[in-house]
């Protein structure tokens, strides 16, 4: 059965058929037929952001917390151009986002018409795929494929460019049941021989370590991961993209690896004899100097994207497949073989490191320090005050993000929204709005920097007007703090273009100007009450925390250094000096 409708109406029907319940859309000339069709939809809520970059980040945030594709709709030319950062961000982090751009009429494409840009050309390297639909009758198929491609295999953003004559043109509408993509067949099931090899390495390992990332979240494999870790008592390190997939209050969780990982995390990677890498890509921020990364370990690498396997680091057992499936397969094999954990001594060693080299800040005893407000302390308080309620943590980029990684304890999958691969300042607030749209039940907190928050602050209006009560906690250090940190460490403290006056803008007044709640905190003693007031307020709120300006994120691996050579933090020493002989003998034969 089919019926005759316009391209714009068809587009809306496609979105409804895909179960889209919210769309972030910013209109303009050639997008008007689509917005007009949306006006009649009872299933789709259209949210108007204040900038198209905000629309895409919101769609991205929505996707991260729900696991369902986020959708943004914008006009041609400048509207389309403003989606680029959002697309690149979603692409780097493999987030399923569908962006629909309106385009000038097919009759004038290629003539530099008003508000014409070649958005499909521009976005080839930052989308998983894109479409320029030249005929209304091709629209349903393109939409079906776009959603399929965005959400399957290794997820990613897909863009569909819709010329205005296509949205005005008519077609016989029928939404396809399936796609026909001969060149696109992701491998989900791991090769059973490879799985057996992995199992044999796991049963023999004395110092195994699970190194897991965003791929496990994407595959919905949190349960399988936990089963494997617990069955064989294997410590787990989650990358920044993998955060929240494993409960961070679990005794086997050993923190985030890499440039700002804890010392114990990086030592564990350095000393492991088996690294089970799942849904990760051996990013340079994790590995530091590649040759030294996990150099004592055999490596099993599980990923749905074959191009990631062996890209940066040679592996011993490659397994192409969906993380959830493969982990389940490994657990089943281990159970069948009646495998028993042999890692008691190794776990003890890692725990010992955890005790000797904890994350720390502000000298020896912070609790006694009632004068200085440390940013890490603010994050710890957010963590404490939200631990018994459903919470989603979003971040901006810079030191604020790293402190959020280090000091917030995540407990449930998909409660972490942070820009990884691209490191996009200005991501946090619009992403928080998208997250709130996807999780109306949750308290959504954006842990922000004073620089980043100013990049998309206009979205506070979106939050206010559309009833998204997001809470922004600004770690206001008066600097582009991460830049300042690098300048302090590597450029002789020459703070070139990294100073932001702490009192400009006045974030409390700014919040009030948007009709939101604003509160300033200058002393540690006031943190809890300010946070609580913001969390309890029925609407968006800003907590402006005037923190110690020149605090650095430690420990830190200098770019290009080996990850066990860390600056700052509790001084480290060679492994042999850290542990007593008995333990050493047990774990290192």
């Amino acid at each position: 059965m089919s019926d005759r409708i316009t391209g714009a109406e068809a587009l809306v029907r496609c979105l409804e058929a895909e179960g889209v319940d919210v769309l972030f859309g910013y209109p303009g000339g050639v997008a008007l037929p689509i917005f007009d069709a949306l006006y009649d939809s009872t299933k789709i809520r259209t949210v108007l952001p204040r900038h198209e970059q905000g629309a895409v980040h919101a769609a991205d945030g929505y996707a991260r917390v729900t696991g369902r594709p986020g959708v943004a709709l914008v006009t041609s030319g400048p509207g389309a151009a403003n989606t680029i950062t959002g697309l690149a961000n979603a692409y780097m982090d493999s987030i399923p986002v569908v962006v629909i751009t309106a385009q000038v009429s097919t009759a004038v494409i290629g003539t530099d018409a008003f508000q014409e840009i070649d958005i499909t050309g521009i976005t080839v390297p930052i989308t998983k795929h894109n479409y320029l639909v030249k005929n209304a009758s091709e629209l349903p198929e393109a939409m079906k494929e776009a959603f399929h491609i965005a959400t399957t295999g290794r997820p990613g953003p897909v863009l569909i460019d819709v010329p205005v004559d296509v949205s005005k043109g008519e077609l016989d509408f029928k939404y396809p049941d399936s796609v026909n993509l001969p060149g696109y067949k992701p491998t989900y099931k791991g090769h059973s021989k490879q799985i057996k090899q992995a199992v044999s390495l796991i049963t023999r390992a004395r110092r195994p370590l699970l190194y897991v990332g965003g791929g496990v979240l994407a595959s919905g494999g949190a349960k399988e991961l936990k089963e494997l870790a617990e069955l064989m008592q294997i410590p787990v390190t989650t990358t920044m993209m993998g955060k929240s997939v494993f409960p961070e209050d679990h005794h086997l969780w050993i923190g985030m690896p890499g440039m700002h990982g804890a010392k114990y995390t990086n030592y564990a990677i350095t000393e492991a004899d088996l690294l089970i890498a799942v849904g990760v890509r051996f990013d340079d921020r994790v590995t530091g100097k590649l040759a030294a990364f996990a150099s004592k370990a055999k490596i099993v690498h599980i990923d749905v994207d074959p191009a990631e396997i062996g890209k940066n680091k040679p592996v011993d057992v490659p397994i192409v497949g969906d993380a959830k499936n493969v982990l389940a397969g490994i657990v089943a094999e281990l159970r069948k073989a009646g495998a028993e954990p042999k890692t008691e001594a190794w776990v003890k060693v890692v725990d010992e490191w955890r005790k000797q080299f904890p994350l720390h800040y502000g000298g020896h005893d912070v609790a006694a320090d009632h004068e200085q407000l440390y940013p890490q302390y603010v994050v710890q308080r957010i963590s404490e005050l939200t631990k018994d309620r459903p919470t989603v943590i979003c971040t901006e980029v810079g030191q604020n993000q790293m402190w959020a990684c280090q000091y917030y304890t995540l407990r449930h999958p998909r409660t972490w929204v942070s820009s990884g691969g691209l490191g996009t300042m200005g991501f946090g607030l619009p992403a928080a709005i998208g997250a709130q749209a996807g999780r109306p039940d949750a308290l959504v907190v954006d842990i922000a920097g004073d620089g980043s928050i100013q990049m998309n602050i206009q979205e506070l209006a979106t939050a206010k007007v559309n009833g998204f009560p997001v809470k922004i906690v600004i770690l206001n250090n008066g600097y582009l703090g991460m830049v300042r940190q690098w300048q302090e460490l590597f450029y002789g403290r020459r703070y070139s273009a990294s100073v932001l006056p702490q009192d400009c803008p006045d974030f409390v007044k700014l919040a009030e100007a948007f009709g939101c709640f604003g509160v300033r905190v200058e002393r540690p003693g006031d943190v809890d009450s300010a946070l609580q007031a913001a969390f309890d307020f029925d609407g968006p709120a800003i907590v402006d925390c005037r923190v110690v300006p020149e605090e650095c994120v430690y420990p830190m691996v200098a770019p290009g250094a080996s990850i066990d050579e860390m600056l700052g933090g509790v001084p480290g020493c060679p492994v042999s000096e850290m542990l007593d002989d008995e333990l050493l003998e047990e774990v290192w034969e």
Binding site: T120, G121, V124, P125, K128, H129, L132, I149, L181, P182, G183, Y184, D305, P306, A307, G310, K311
Partner: protein, 160 residues
């Protein structure tokens, strides 16, 4: 080291750009590239010669394979495949030197396709090294213009 990749793609607008821009973005130099339809009119074959060390060639092959419109990517082993290239040379040829040039062309089983007052144009096909050898010899006379198609290749019959 040079590698020959045979890439079968859907015959749709923009697909060639997707493939070539991927090479540029991932830092691979394309030495030559030839495109045309295959036995199936909905598919095209792109033959790409590029230079790379051994590990990265596998990386680019995998990345190309990930493109939605790419059906198949194959690295061709020279000993297991037939390779050809077409070339046109327009060579300086005063009347008294013409027969020398024609003789060389004959040795290579090349064809004279045009003769002007001071030039001859020669068409030749062959594997890349043969074309290179001809180019080398003709340089002595002065090549006014040259056009090479870039290599096309197929695997030998054995594997069907």
């Amino acid at each position: 080291m040079k590698h020959t990749l045979s890439v079968v793609v859907e015959n749709k607008p923009g697909v060639l750009t997707r493939v070539t821009s991927l090479f540029a973005r991932r830092g691979f130099n394309i030495d030559s590239l030839a495109v045309g339809t295959t036995e199936d009119p909905t598919l095209s074959r792109i033959t790409i010669v590029c230079s790379a060390a051994d590990t990265p060639i596998e990386q680019i092959t995998k990345q190309v394979h990930k493109l939605i419109n790419v059906i198949k990517v194959q690295e061709l082993d020279p000993s297991e495949s037939v390779e050809r290239e077409l070339v046109l040379f327009k060579i300086n040829a005063a009347p008294e030197r013409r027969h020398e040039i024609i003789e060389i062309a004959n040795v290579f089983r090349a064809k004279i396709v045009d003769v002007g007052r001071n030039s001859v144009t020669i068409e030749a096909t062959g594997a890349t090294d043969k074309v290179d050898a001809m180019e080398d010899l003709f340089r002595a006379y002065g090549i006014k213009e040259m056009a090479r198609t870039g290599k096309i290749a197929l695997t030998r019959g054995r594997e069907g």
